[in-house]
């Protein structure tokens, strides 16, 4: 049920994001979803890609600090209140979200929410119990 995500450390310098995306493109790595979290000094780029190990290796070779974490991908219908129902279920169970981002899947009319929780296992139980669809890494990349 867990989806592998890579995270890259970025200094706030112009051109860094362009550089990373160019490296991934040159190596035929497709980005399925991404988010950038930033502070005044640095940023963290989080990516879900079709080939995690390859992306990780090529970025490391290019001199970036790369980490790998597991996240959850939840599929909801792309309509008003889709996210709210998921968050409500998590809130009721007392589960904190560390961070999240989302993307919309045009062909299927669904939205995919990417979550990182402190308590990943509990979150899986709660979401499954409440009937949400969790996607695997392959499923996310196949969208």
């Amino acid at each position: 049920m867990l989806v592998e995500q890579i995270a890259v450390f970025l200094e706030n310098k112009s051109g860094r994001l362009a550089e990373i995306t160019a490296i991934l493109a040159e190596n035929d790595t497709n980005i399925r979803a991404l988010s950038v979290a930033d502070t005044a000094d640095f940023g963290i780029l989080r990516l879900i890609v079709n080939d995690v190990e390859k992306a990780r290796t090529i970025l490391q070779e290019a001199g970036f600090t790369v980490g790998k974490t597991n996240v959850l991908a939840v599929e909801v219908v792309d309509k008003t209140g889709g996210l709210a129902t998921v968050l409500k279920s998590l809130h009721n169970a007392g589960i904190n979200v560390e961070y999240m981002y989302a993307f919309v899947n045009k062909s299927g009319g669904n939205a995919v929410l990417i979550f990182r929780f402190e308590k990943m296992d509990e979150a899986i139980d709660v979401l499954q119990k409440d009937g949400f669809t969790l996607l695997s890494g392959e499923q996310v990349c196949a969208l």
Partner: protein, 436 residues
């Protein structure tokens, strides 16, 4: 462990005997420089002291100091005591902080130096069987050639690879089975990084001992180097003005400090501000008088290195005084908002934080009338997290640790790996952008 000495008698001489040798050599030296070197004669005359006034080692304090400026003012050869035809070699400092300083050696000086350096290597546990990779720079810098002659004198095999070209260094290490590495500590870490990127585990190499010096480094940095290179790291001290590497050497038994080869170099610790000689055991600026050098002897040379002298007996049996690891230099001391800071103190804090790489830089700026210090730390995979909060907590922790040790608030900036310039010789730890 059996201790092997190079010159057992001299290294284990009771202090009384040692001091009598020192006094005789000092008297001879003072008489000679007074006669042959005009600047020394003038300074002694101004201070009202004559060679015959030196009746005991305690009279050393009556002699004027020699400072780096004296060397610069007499650039290049003005303080040499012998005619140039007697001088067989010169070395020079890089001159990064001004005009370079030049030192000279007679053929006897070169011979003495090789013997002292062999003693240092032996003190660090090196034997004839060792394959010694000498990664100190060869050339005008004393490190490369100074160590080289000592390794040969000892009878070990020297690999005169000099500094730089890390990949080649590692291939040599692997193929030649180097057992001893000589380099600056910052370059040793650079080599560890290179091993990592070449996927060569240090345990697969034959390195046993690293003899590191030429720049101040902290105890935490020692642990880091030992762990990363899988060897025992010992400290060596030297400076070109006094001779070059081999002025003092840490033995394998000492838990603190390096033995000063006192039959050649007479140490004092002074208060850097007042110039007063401090009582035994106190911390201050290290001052050396060379006792046996011919071409370029020095009387009471102010090294600007901060240390203390340890007179307690050492487990290795050497009676030679030990100098504590140099914690900083009076001239790389930063004064930030009135607080004295040595880069090595910042290093100590950083190396104490799990996962922090030993590559850092301190940047000092003046904003308005306020000095600000920022410490740049590279984010390794061991430190990195995909959560902002974790990284922010890390910078806060480093900031708090520096604040509690040094009493100064600094900014901690996380930077991408390999963005801080790697050293192939002495690391540049401080960038001072203040225009004062």
């Amino acid at each position: 462990m059996t201790v092997i000495y190079w010159e057992e008698e001299m290294e284990t001489l009771p202090r009384v005997g040692l001091e009598s040798i020192q006094l005789r050599r000092l008297q001879h030296l003072v008489a000679r420089v007074y006669k042959t070197v005009e600047p020394y004669r003038r300074k002694m005359d101004e201070a009202g002291v004559r060679p015959e006034d030196i009746k005991s080692l305690g009279d050393l304090g009556r002699l004027p100091f020699t400072a780096k400026d004296d060397l610069r003012n007499n650039y290049p050869f003005g303080l040499f005591t012998v005619p140039m035809e007697e001088v067989v070699r010169v070395h020079a400092s890089s001159g990064t902080t001004g005009k370079s300083t030049v030192v000279g050696y007679t053929s006897k000086d070169i011979d003495t130096w090789a013997g002292i350096m062999a003693r240092a290597l032996c003190c660090a546990g090196t034997t004839r069987e060792d394959m010694v990779q000498n990664a100190y720079g060869y050339g005008l810098f004393t490190g490369g050639l100074g160590a080289h002659y000592g390794i040969e004198r000892l009878g070990a095999t020297v690999i005169p690879v000099s500094g730089g070209n890390s990949k080649r260094q590692i291939n040599i290490m692997k193929d030649f089975r180097s057992t001893v590495l000589l380099s600056t500590p910052s370059y040793a870490l650079n080599l560890a990084d290179a091993m990592d990127s070449l996927d060569i585990p240090p345990a697969s190499l034959s390195l046993r001992v690293g003899i590191f010096g030429a720049e101040p480094w902290s105890e935490n940095m020692r642990e880091e180097v030992e762990k990363k290179l899988n060897l025992k790291a010992v400290d060596i001290y030297g400076l070109s003005e006094v001779m070059g590497p081999g002025v003092a050497q840490e033995c394998l038994q000492s838990d603190r400090g390096m033995h000063i080869f006192e039959d050649h170099f007479l140490p004092e610790i002074i208060d850097p501000d007042s110039g007063e000689v401090l009582p035994a055991g106190e911390q201050g600026e290290l001052v050396f008088t060379t006792l046996t050098k011919e071409a370029f002897p020095l009387i009471r040379y102010r090294t600007k290195d901060i240390s203390r002298l340890i007179y307690e007996p050492c487990d290795c049996g050497r009676t030679l005084v030990r100098m504590e690891k140099v914690t900083g230099r009076t001239d790389d001391m930063l004064i930030i908002r009135g607080v004295n800071i040595f880069p090595s103190q910042v290093e100590h804090v950083l190396m104490g934080v799990e996962g922090v790489e030993p590559h850092y830089q301190i940047v000092v700026e003046r904003e308005g009338n306020l000095d600000t210090m920022s410490v740049q730390v590279e984010v390794s995979e061991g430190l990195f997290s995909d959560e902002i909060r974790v990284l922010e907590n890390l910078t806060k922790k480093i900031q708090a640790d520096i604040k509690s040790l040094l009493g100064v608030t600094c900014r901690v900036k996380l930077v991408e790996p390999k963005t801080i310039q790697r050293s192939e010789g002495k690391a540049q730890r401080v960038i001072d952008n203040r225009k004062i």
